[in-house]
């Protein structure tokens, strides 16, 4: 003599349909809470994924980078640069580095071929640059040891530079002039493009496209022929694994501190540690938003409880009639509980759909990658059902406890 779950659902749907506006108002808090959770989680997921991709395509998590420490007070003396001699010393001290690329960046100037010119950043590098950046050569070859030891006047162009200067012509073996010097083009680099467009460094533009606008010269050539005063301010190393990179970071940091008499002129970072830091930051960010969403769900739940209590009061007579014709206490409790849970679950579904709509807008407008997973949808749905159960039980139990005689007397 029990009424089945299907029957309860049927009753619940009828109840909701008879009180559409009230049900909609009841559930607004849940809709907003679920929507918030969806949007925040999807954006954070997307950002994490984008960062991971950006890092892995720029040398991965085994990379160690040495850069000037802009937090250091340079008025105390010292200059964040390394000489070629110091670079060679570091190389000898970290033989385990699988790639080693010191780098100088030259001021932007126009690179010319005949009448056409293109302003691009130019770098002096080692052959290992390709390995460190996990870059491929598209045409010709990259700078090699021979170019370094002979201080050759050769240049390797990024794909955009080659296109701008030579359009469809073959640049190999041709000469470009830059800063009053002539360089022979020996190679063109493959195009860098981040799959699954995401923000990365810049919103709206592909996260790796800036690399295609660079040109590269042998480091030795830059220092000996272009500007002997130029010092090396950036060094990239590759370790065998992310774990080894952490050790190597410490080692390189110590070496450089010793070279610079204990002055922290440089920052040494491992990609793995940067990644950990970013993860931690995004965790904090996520937690705060989840907390806000949970508060909104709780407030939504309290609103639901209130409205359901009012609804039980208003439907006292109906409850009395149901009891008189044979409903057990349990049937009444289930009827109201199922109704509450149905409302919150529907609210959850609407929240998920709204969340998707917003993600679509945000993703499209900001060119921000968003990652909404099936797990998130289930979580959102379960959370809204949970809120329904939690805040629906009290009004439902109260309905089940009504004395039928009193209930039937109620006007």
């Amino acid at each position: 003599m029990a009424i089945s779950l299907a029957e309860s659902l049927h009753l619940g749907i009828l109840d909701i349909l008879t009180r559409k506006v009230r049900s909609a108002v009841t559930v607004i808090g849940i809709v907003l809470g679920v929507m918030c959770i969806m949007v925040v989680l999807a954006i954070v997921n997307g950002m994490n994924k984008t960062t991971m991709e950006w890092m892995s395509q720029r040398g991965g998590l085994s990379k160690v980078e040495v850069r000037p420490n802009w937090g250091y007070d340079f008025s105390k003396g010292g200059d964040p640069s390394l000489s070629l001699r110091e670079i060679r010393l570091i190389r000898e001290l970290v033989p385990q580095a699988t790639a080693f690329n010191p780098q100088v960046s030259l001021p932007e100037a126009e690179m010319q071929v005949g009448d056409s010119g293109y302003v691009c950043p130019v770098f002096g590098v080692y052959p290992d640059m390709l390995k460190v950046e996990e870059w491929k050569i598209a045409k010709g070859r990259f700078i090699n040891e021979f170019d370094i030891s002979n201080h050759n006047n050769v240049v390797v162009l990024g794909s955009t530079v080659a296109k701008e200067l030579f359009s469809s012509r073959d640049p190999l073996g041709r000469y470009v002039s830059w800063g009053g010097h002539r360089f022979m083009v020996i190679g063109v680099l493959g195009e860098r493009y981040m799959k699954n467009q995401g923000g990365g460094e810049t919103f709206g533009e592909n996260g790796l496209e800036y690399l295609n606008r660079r040109a590269f010269l042998p480091l030795s050539t830059v220092i000996s022929k272009i500007n002997p005063k130029l010092r090396i301010s950036s060094l990239e190393l590759q370790a065998a694994s992310p774990e080894k990179a952490k050790e190597m970071r410490k080692q390189v940091e110590e070496i450089i501190l010793n070279l610079k008499q204990g002055k922290a002129l440089f920052r040494v970072d491992s990609a793995q540690e940067q990644m950990d830091m970013m993860r931690k930051n995004s965790m904090i960010f996520t937690s705060i938003f989840i907390l806000i969403a949970v508060i909104s769900l709780l407030v939504g739940g309290i609103v639901i409880m209130n409205i359901m209590l009012a609804s039980v009061k208003e439907r006292t007579r109906e409850i009395g009639v149901r009891i008189a014709v044979g409903a057990r206490r349990r049937d009444i409790v289930i009827q109201f509980l199922v109704q509450t849970v149905l409302i919150t679950a529907l609210g959850g579904v609407v929240g998920i759909l709204l969340g998707y709509a917003i993600l679509d807008l945000v993703g499209g407008y900001l060119k921000l990658e968003v990652v909404a997973s099936v797990r998130m949808i289930w979580t959102a749905l379960l959370v809204s059902i949970g809120v329904g159960l939690l805040f629906g039980i009290m009004p439902a139990v109260r309905a089940g406890r009504l004395d039928p005689i009193e209930a039937l007397r109620e006007e």
């Binding site: 009424i3 009639v321 149901r322 008189a324 014709v325 044979g326 409903a327 039937l408």
Partner: protein
């Protein structure tokens, strides 16, 4: 004839704060299957309390109550729900139909709690509604019907599960004399078809229809005599 209702020394006390009120003070009552009985008494006489106990909406403080051969006076609430569902059909003064359900759904209600299939519910409810002349109003809401029609729906709901007794509380109290007369006709017809009908009323004209009038006063039954 078989006894459908048999009570022995029914006592019902209410605690109103510190004061104890005795609403029923030893009621012995027997009703045979197929009888048409009216229970009369002024307000405060214990008439409503007796009706609630007979209808299994309430339990006596002490005493025994056998309904259709089953001792129900000490039953748990959920078991009483099942008894109400299968053995008792209620008709109230104010109809007590569910306003947002159409009349077909209203009549199906006891069958739902009895666990009948959707199809069986609909079949039985249609059949009963036809017997009270409301076949053409199945999809109407109670608010779209006249008082007399509403009470006929309530009667249909009360008898749809084929109960042992039909228990009506002032069924004509909210109706004009014409509609009230029609409703009493239905009760008379149901009685003639073998149903046990109990009407609680203070209206003599209504009580005259019954085969027996039970008068209650100060929580006791005064006398029970046939009206002829």
């Amino acid at each position: 004839m078989a006894e459908i209702i048999a009570t022995k020394n029914l006592i019902k006390d209410y605690n109103l704060g510190k004061v104890k009120v005795r609403a029923l003070n030893g009621v012995d009552l027997t009703i045979e299957a197929g009888e048409f009985v009216a229970i009369m008494g002024p307000s405060g006489s214990g008439k409503s309390t007796l009706m609630h106990i007979i209808g299994c909406l309430d339990s006596p403080t002490s005493g025994e109550y056998h309904l259709d051969g089953v001792l129900v006076s000490q039953m748990a609430k959920d078991d009483l729900a099942s008894i109400r569902n299968s053995k008792i059909g209620f008709v109230f003064q104010s109809f007590n139909l569910l306003p947002h359900l159409n009349i077909l759904k209203n009549v199906e209600l006891p069958l739902m709690y009895a666990g009948e299939s959707l199809r069986e519910r609909s079949r039985k409810a249609r059949e009963i509604l036809a017997s009270v002349g409301l076949s053409d109003r199945l999809r109407h809401k109670p608010s779209e019907l006249s008082g007399g029609q509403r009470q006929r729906v309530a009667i249909a709901r009360a008898i749809v599960n084929n109960p042992a007794i039909l228990l009506a509380d002032e069924p004509t109290g909210n109706l004009d004399s014409q509609a009230g007369g029609d409703i009493l006709e239905i009760f008379t017809r149901l009685h003639s078809q073998g149903n046990t009908v109990i009407i609680v009323t203070h209206d003599k004209a209504v009580a005259q229809r019954a085969g027996r009038i039970i008068r209650i006063m100060d929580g006791r039954i005064e006398d029970g005599h046939l009206t002829g």
